[in-house]
Subunit: 317 residues, 2 copies
């Protein structure tokens, strides 16, 4: 598989899988979510379970009537009930992916993270992964965490690295180049994440993350522009050529997310990892197309996972 | 004066001033600095004092021979001597602006910050101001601090706001719109800068910063894109229309700087404020044109200051 370079390629690749994943959508009642669902149905990318409250029942029924083979509908009293039912379906294996619609993110996460009935296994870390197609960068750029973890500690950095690496694999990048970001190249105890970076690089060398190239601390430009690295006399497989950017805090990652979207016209897809299924939770200011791409990303990533587990079973014989 | 919208306008505006400022350059021996100096000489934007060590004496003499009326040259034993002499000339009023060439930034700052012989008045705060022209934003965007203060405290935020506001004025923005940046709109004691933001907004309302509009916490997109603000139900004179971005930490501001440069093809100018004269210290990976724009910015900013002080003297009669 060649590395996927944009979302059109990602969609085409997803369509090449024979198995379609089943997405449960909590309150698909806003225009952006409806757009994403309808487009995915039209392109036969996934099957859907749409859970809504009675207020929107007619609209959702209408979608089922358009795609009776591929859509199941449940009407429940409140958005919280919709979230609870969606989580239950994921637990029971009746859905592979969860997607947020017109429900407050906190309410959705309340159901996802419930210790008795939720879908985050004990010891797993919830993190958010973004995949960006920036017109001025020659490949996809995966980064984290731009939504959930404000200041990752070492264990959280490891979870973020595992999750982003898995996404890179599902995008056909066999040995992802991971840049650990800071505002300069110096390790400095005043900035504890730079100490974590040293540990992470050791773990990477020992093979903890599989086949990856890891380098840092370095800044965004050093990570993504070979010329800047050269001027600084830096060279490594990562410098100027990053597939994955690991940010030290949410202020920096959010700045990156918003800046490439607004000023560099990037296309974005994002999802939560850690739960037993990916959860698509785009933010209010994300576009319809971004919700659709997020759905494509989640389906691709789940398809890739099932393919790996098949391979793994093969090895056991 | 209409607000300046790009660096071509800024240069034209600078040329409209009858008085030219005098720039002392510490070791103008790298191609980028030489480009900036020669272009400014050709366009008659400033006069120069070039201080270098004997190794580069011939090259610098050559520049003087091209512009004998506008260039003075000093040859000293080492770059540190060059920095010391430059600082002395600023102290003695023989130069208005200082510019870094091929000398380590730490060595230059050592001379600038020396308590006995330096040029940072007691109680003043050293900060870095950047002015960006982003092709996808309709006006100049001023931001800070992307180079000096890792985690501004309240006093440092105030110094940053005063310095950026002064730069906005010199660019013809009479009542700058200042966005206090965070990853969301919530004030939260876990993120102490958001508490500072509350204090800063109070100070702004009381007039501490003169005629400004201030709002936050908000993210980059909310600050610079009216549509994103609308979706979130936010509106203020700042939302979607920021002139100035105040960042909570160096990781975020550096990310912004590098991201708009690399992915959005922004033109940049920057300088240190706090010392009695602006100090131009562009980074290794900045371009020649960025050094030139920084010089233009520093000259404009000093011209504006002298104009204000003239006005002020007038008021005293």
């Amino acid at each position: 598989m060649n590395p996927i370079k944009d979302f059109a390629q990602m969609t085409a690749y997803l369509q090449s899988y024979s198995e379609r994943k089943r997405v449960v959508v909590v309150c698909p009642n806003d225009p952006h979510t409806e757009y994403a669902v309808l487009r995915a149905l039209k392109e036969r990318l996934a099957e859907f379970v749409l859970i809504t409250d009675s207020h929107y029942a007619a609209r959702v029924e209408d979608i089922r009537n358009q795609y009776p083979q591929d859509v199941e509908v449940f009407v429940v009293p409140t958005p919280d009930d919709a979230a609870a039912l969606a989580v239950q379906m994921v637990r029971e294996g009746k859905a592979d992916i969860m997607m947020k619609g017109l429900i407050n993110t906190d309410n959705l996460l309340h159901a996802v993270l419930n210790k008795q009935t939720g879908i985050l296994p004990q010891g797993e870390i919830l993190t958010h992964i973004t995949v960006a197609h920036i017109p001025t960068y020659p490949k996809l750029l995966i980064f984290s965490d731009a939504a959930v973890i404000p200041r990752p500690n070492l264990a959280q950095f490891k979870a973020i690295i595992r999750a982003t690496t898995e996404v890179a694999h599902s995008c056909g990048v066999e040995e992802p180049r991971i840049a650990l970001l800071h505002f300069c190249e110096k390790v400095n105890e005043k900035f504890p994440h730079t100490l974590d970076y040293e540990m992470l690089k050791e773990c990477a060398l020992k093979g903890e993350f599989g086949r990856v190239q890891m380098d840092g601390p370095m800044d965004v430009k050093t990570a993504c522009d070979i010329h800047s690295g050269n001027i600084k006399g830096l060279s490594s497989p990562v410098v100027g050529n990053a597939d994955i950017l690991i940010f030290p805090n949410l202020e920096a990652s959010n700045t990156f997310y918003k800046t490439i979207t607004l000023f560099a016209h990037a296309d974005m897809a994002g999802m939560l990892r850690g739960p037993i299924s990916p959860v698509v939770v785009t933010s209010r200011s994300d576009s319809s197309i971004s919700k659709y791409y997020s759905l494509v990303l989640a389906c691709l990533s789940e398809n890739h996972k099932s393919q790996i587990s098949v391979n793994h079973e093969n090895l056991c014989y």
